[in-house]
């Protein structure tokens, strides 16, 4: 358990993906079965046990500590799990030691048995609710500070260490010469502690059978397209569809060995999200696997991403939520039909098979993403700038550009070059003034790389800048060096890792910020929140007084739903 705890501890501080991968692989390589398998299960969310409530932990620690000291400590640390882990008085570690000043470690009690991760997880699965506090207390006594912290995170199911299920599986694949996608394919037939999986990747065993009649197949992804790329691409070789502003999903359906249907919905990275969309699962009355976009459709009209977000990340999926935010799958590809793997077929051929399937299904919850007809790239550019004019109708709000797919393209895992492209709608742009710089993380920890920017408004004391967002990318490494220098040389105040920089009518740096959308927000002083903001250009030349005003953003918000081409009137 302490080893697993040390891994979680280290992962929690590590911002780099590759370094996380190395830490994970190292752990899997040097940790025996079944501990490593349970660790993998913990990180992929595959563990099933009744979670302990924070109240249980709190109750245990309150029996053991001075309430006043606990209060001060919690106030100082700010996190319950961490406070408890640190303040927990381990037996034999009394604050009063022998008067001769001997080191505190020299007591005669036998060291308590430190539980393994396996013991913890197996015990949790079988322990009754009334026995749980005593079990947990026993483990807490035996573990060190980091071990206790990890234990609390594990049993309260609050294990957030920045490792996706995909990353953990990739680390397993790296133990051998296996592609992460192959692990993905067999994954859903496996169970913790995954001894057959480890045996296979380490070359000691057979490839495990996928026992899942509705497995996830790795998604095919696209490359962003820049204007200059069109010269290299022949329009007649491509087909186009709208790019929907929703969530990419894969729906798979099959029959279990008992003949009952098995229907699953996966995220783009292979996480099983079926439980979140029971209304959609119900509609999967086919055999095979299809690829599409999750949207919210009310009375035949696709809602914006803002509306979709209100359906996501809810713990309880209530009938009310389903009625208010009906899930809809707009499909654009088919991977399997029955037992037949369609992925090697050309896209145009798959499309015909998909159209036939959707027609057979005849369910309002699942429909086809329409093709966008075009002869030349200019045609497509026109369509992209005004989707409503080419048949997108009222759904135009949920379109964020075009997908361009080579008609001959097979369905390949990952992001292969030369087949699929996304051509996003131009972003909104606003000129804002830098107000604060914050240190970045990892490689950027010596740089002020996260910038808060504001626009002008009429305040109680006259014209003032109000923060409207924060961005930490969009610039090149060379630009970062310059921005960092600007922050250092124009600091007026420091707040821990944050520096306030000079700004005002006659001083300050203007940043051209690009963003995908705006939302009303009560959390921000300005009342608006930006979606996906980034630094588009640094306007060293522009005086701060000429930066945009809050009214510009208000106007975008007001036009909101009708707005299809933000730059049209600005370009004119």
């Amino acid at each position: 358990m302490n080893r697993f705890a040390a891994l979680l501890d280290r992962l929690g501080y590590e911002p780099r993906r590759n370094a996380k991968l190395r830490l994970l692989t190292d752990y899997f390589r040097h940790t025996p079965d079944p501990d490593r398998g349970y660790a993998l299960a913990a990180m992929t969310g595959a563990l099933m046990f009744k979670e302990a409530k924070p109240g249980l932990i709190r109750g245990l620690v309150e029996e053991r500590t001075d309430p006043e000291l606990f209060r001060m400590s919690y106030h100082y640390v700010g996190d319950l799990a961490e406070t408890v882990a640190l303040i927990w008085p381990a037996p034999g570690h009394e604050s009063v030691a022998p008067a001769d000043g001997a080191p505190t470690i020299g007591h005669n009690n036998p060291p308590p048995h430190v539980p393994t991760l396996t013991e913890v997880i197996e015990t949790l699965a079988t322990t009754s609710k009334s026995d749980l506090p005593a079990r947990v207390a026993g483990w807490m006594d035996a573990l060190d500070e980091t071990g206790r912290w990890a234990l609390i995170k594990l049993i309260t199911r609050e294990l957030r260490v920045g490792v996706s299920a995909r990353l953990a599986k990739t680390a397993v694949a790296q133990l051998g010469q296996i592609e992460p996608d192959e692990v993905e394919l067999v994954w859903h037939g496996l169970e913790a502690p995954y001894e057959d999986l480890f045996a296979w990747v380490e070359g000691r065993g057979e490839k495990p059978e996928s026992g899942n009649p509705a497995p996830f197949r790795p998604s095919m992804l696209s490359h962003p397209l820049e204007d200059e790329d069109f010269a290299k691409l022949e329009a007649s070789e491509f087909l186009a569809e709208w790019k929907w502003d929703g969530i990419r999903l894969q729906a798979a359906s099959g029959h279990g060995s008992d003949g009952r249907p098995v229907r699953r919905i996966y995220s783009r990275t292979g996480e099983d999200v079926s439980r979140a969309f029971p209304d959609l699962v119900e509609a999967l009355d086919f055999e095979g696997a299809i690829d599409g976009e999750l949207l919210i459709v009310r009375e035949g009209r696709v809602q914006t991403f803002n509306v979709l977000q209100q359906r996501l990340n809810r713990k309880a999926v209530t009938p009310k939520l389903i009625a208010e935010f009906p899930a809809h799958l707009r499909v654009y590809d088919i991977l399997f039909e029955g037992e037949e793997d369609l992925r090697p077929l050309p896209f145009a051929e798959r499309r015909r098979r998909l159209e036939a399937l959707v027609a057979r299904l005849d369910d309002p919850r699942i429909d086809l993403s329409p093709m966008v007809p075009f002869e030349t790239w200019e045609d497509l550019a026109a369509a992209r700038s005004d989707p409503a004019s080419v048949g997108a109708g009222p759904d135009a709000d949920a379109i964020e550009g075009c997908m361009i797919k080579r008609a001959s393209s097979p369905y390949l895992p990952g992001r292969p070059k030369g087949y699929w492209y996304k051509w996003k709608r131009d972003p909104y742009l606003v000129d804002a003034v830098m107000m604060y710089g914050q240190r970045g993380h990892g490689k950027r920890s010596s740089f002020y790389s996260d910038y808060t920017f504001g626009v002008w408004r009429e305040g109680p004391g006259g014209e003032e800048l109000v923060p409207v967002g924060k961005a930490y990318h969009g610039f090149t490494d060379e630009e970062l060096v310059k921005l960092d220098r600007f922050v250092r040389n124009h600091t007026v105040k420091r707040f821990g890792p944050v520096r306030e920089v000079e700004y005002g009518k006659d001083k300050g740096l203007v940043l051209e910020v690009a963003f995908e959308g705006l939302q009303r927000s009560t959390r921000h002083k300005s009342g608006v929140a930006m979606r996906f903001p980034r630094i588009n250009r640094i306007r060293w030349d522009k005086p701060a007084a000429e930066a945009d005003r809050i009214e510009t953003l208000e106007k975008i918000l007001e036009r909101g739903e009708q707005e299809v081409h933000p730059l049209k009137d600005q370009e004119a």
């Binding site: 040390a6 280290r10 929690g12 501080y13 590590e14 911002p15 370094a19 190395r22 830490l23 190292d26 500590t65 001075d66 006043e68 000291l69 606990f70 001060m72 400590s73 100082y76 640390v77 700010g78 996190d79 961490e82 406070t83 640190l86 303040i87 008085p89 570690h93 009394e94 604050s95 009063v96 030691a97 008067a99 000043g101 080191p103 505190t104 470690i105 060190d144 500070e145 240190r439 970045g440 993380h441 990892g442 490689k443 920890s445 010596s446 740089f447 220098r485 250092r488 040389n489 124009h490 600091t491 007026v492 105040k493 420091r494 821990g496 890792p497 520096r499």
Partner: protein, 439 residues
């Protein structure tokens, strides 16, 4: 609490001539240990002195009216007794200074040999007469040369512990318990969440990481005096025999440690142009440099920080630390409590840090205690960033012209709430040399 008591005694000579020991015959090893167990017999007191007659608080810091000297004053005074060499305790500009030989050497390195008009070496465990009191320096286990100062008069003994720790440290003498009536303690880590782990485990973490990421440089932030050398010594104890690369700010103090017979192995200074070649190396620098321009040129650096504060995740995150090493030169909660009990003190004064929690603990254990809310003492670098007054140093740091930047000047700890009793808080940050502040 009475404050600003005026000396009630006859004039005392400016220098420390009243001492029993003359400056000439002080040798490091000559000191004869005094029994620590000479419990004070209250019956023998001719007229029991109150503890505040022996020690009071003034704007300059703790003051002994009977001996007419200050301990670790934050402003220049006539006569200062210094517990240890950290720059918030050992400041320059006093007329006469008494400290251990090592502390005097450290002050010489930091402030130049003429940092005081006169200096006097205090031999460990040897009683000295200063004015109407007897003082004695006893090892505090904090850093090289660190000592507690006990003051005795009229049958009452007060111990000013300075900063101290009970954990093992290969670079300094271990703490010795001095029984006393009044114990004056810090409380930097005075909350029960602070329990420092075994340092060996922390150093192992660092070495494991070096083994796992051989293509990256590991940059360890550590205070230039004490912590840096302790980390080096711990690495050597764990068998690490590669050169340990040093930021320029730690060079002279590290040399001083070596000349005191502490083996630290090969410790070359980082050459600015060579930074990019230090893949797989361990580099030690002042905490302020880990996020500074200076650290940028190393190959994909892993940011480490050796400090007791690293026990709390939020603190480590805020500093952008990727590998926190919980190594502290202060006592953790258990050791603070244990030490208070072992001194047998009936009264405890808490100088700085998390005073309230430790005072609460004393009270619940039948010990009278009060917080002093003393300003001007750093708490293991915590004050470093938070205490920046706006515009201090103008925030203009030297640009990357290939040179190694000196750590920007930092002010000493000032994030303690100003006590209402503290009529005139000492100025902060004036004389801080940027050597990494307090550890």
């Amino acid at each position: 609490m009475s404050r600003f008591r005026h000396p009630i005694l006859s004039p005392i000579p400016d220098c420390l001539a009243a001492s029993e020991a003359s400056a000439g015959n002080l040798g490091r090893d000559r000191a004869i240990p005094q029994p620590d167990t000479d419990r004070l017999n209250p019956i023998s007191k001719p007229m029991a002195l109150r503890s505040t007659d022996i020690l009071t608080q003034t704007p300059q810091g703790l003051y002994c009216p009977l001996g007419d000297f200050h301990i670790d004053p934050v402003r220049p005074v006539k006569r200062a007794l210094i517990t240890h060499g950290h720059s918030d305790h050992a400041r320059s500009g006093h007329r006469s200074v008494m400290a251990t030989r090592e502390t005097l050497r450290i002050m010489g390195v930091r402030y130049g040999e003429d940092f005081a008009d006169s200096t006097q070496e205090a031999s460990l465990r040897e009683s000295l007469r200063v004015g109407d009191v007897t003082v004695r320096f006893t090892p505090a286990g904090h850093v090289l040369g660190s000592a507690q100062i006990s003051i005795e008069a009229g049958g009452t003994r007060v111990v000013v512990s300075g900063d101290y720790k009970r954990a093992e440290d290969p670079t300094c003498l271990p703490y010795e318990v001095v029984p006393c009536d009044v114990f004056i303690t810090e409380a930097t880590f005075g909350l029960p969440v602070f329990r420092h782990p075994d340092t060996r485990g922390e150093v192992r973490k660092l070495l494991d990481s070096v083994a796992l990421f051989p293509e990256r440089a590991h940059i360890v932030g550590a205070y230039a005096l004490g912590k840096a050398q302790r980390v080096m010594a711990l690495l050597r104890e764990e068998g690490y025999d590669q050169p340990i690369h040093l930021h320029g700010a730690m060079e002279r103090l590290t040399e001083l440690y070596k000349s005191e017979g502490i083996p630290l192995g090969e410790t070359p200074k980082v050459v600015a142009a060579e930074r990019s070649k230090l893949a797989g190396a361990i580099v030690i620098c002042p905490p302020s440099s880990i996020q500074d321009l200076w650290s940028r040129r190393f190959p994909d650096p892993v940011t480490c920080f050796a400090s007791g504060w690293m026990r709390v995740r939020g603190r480590a995150r805020q500093k952008g630390v990727e590998l926190p090493l919980v190594i502290s030169d202060h006592s953790d909660w258990d050791d603070l409590c244990r030490t208070i009990q072992e001194t047998g003190a009936g009264e405890v004064w808490v100088t700085h840090g998390q005073e309230d929690a430790l005072v609460h603990w004393c009270t619940t254990h039948g010990i009278r205690a009060r917080p002093l809310h003393m300003l001007g003492y750093g708490d293991e670098g915590e004050a470093e960033e938070a205490a920046h007054p706006p515009l201090e140093g103008e925030g203009r740091e030297r640009s990357e012209r290939g040179g190694v930047e000196t750590p920007s000047s930092k002010s000493a700890g000032a994030n303690h709430p100003t006590s209402a009793l503290q009529a005139d808080p000492p100025p902060q940050g004036k004389d801080e040399s940027g050597q990494g502040g307090a550890a």
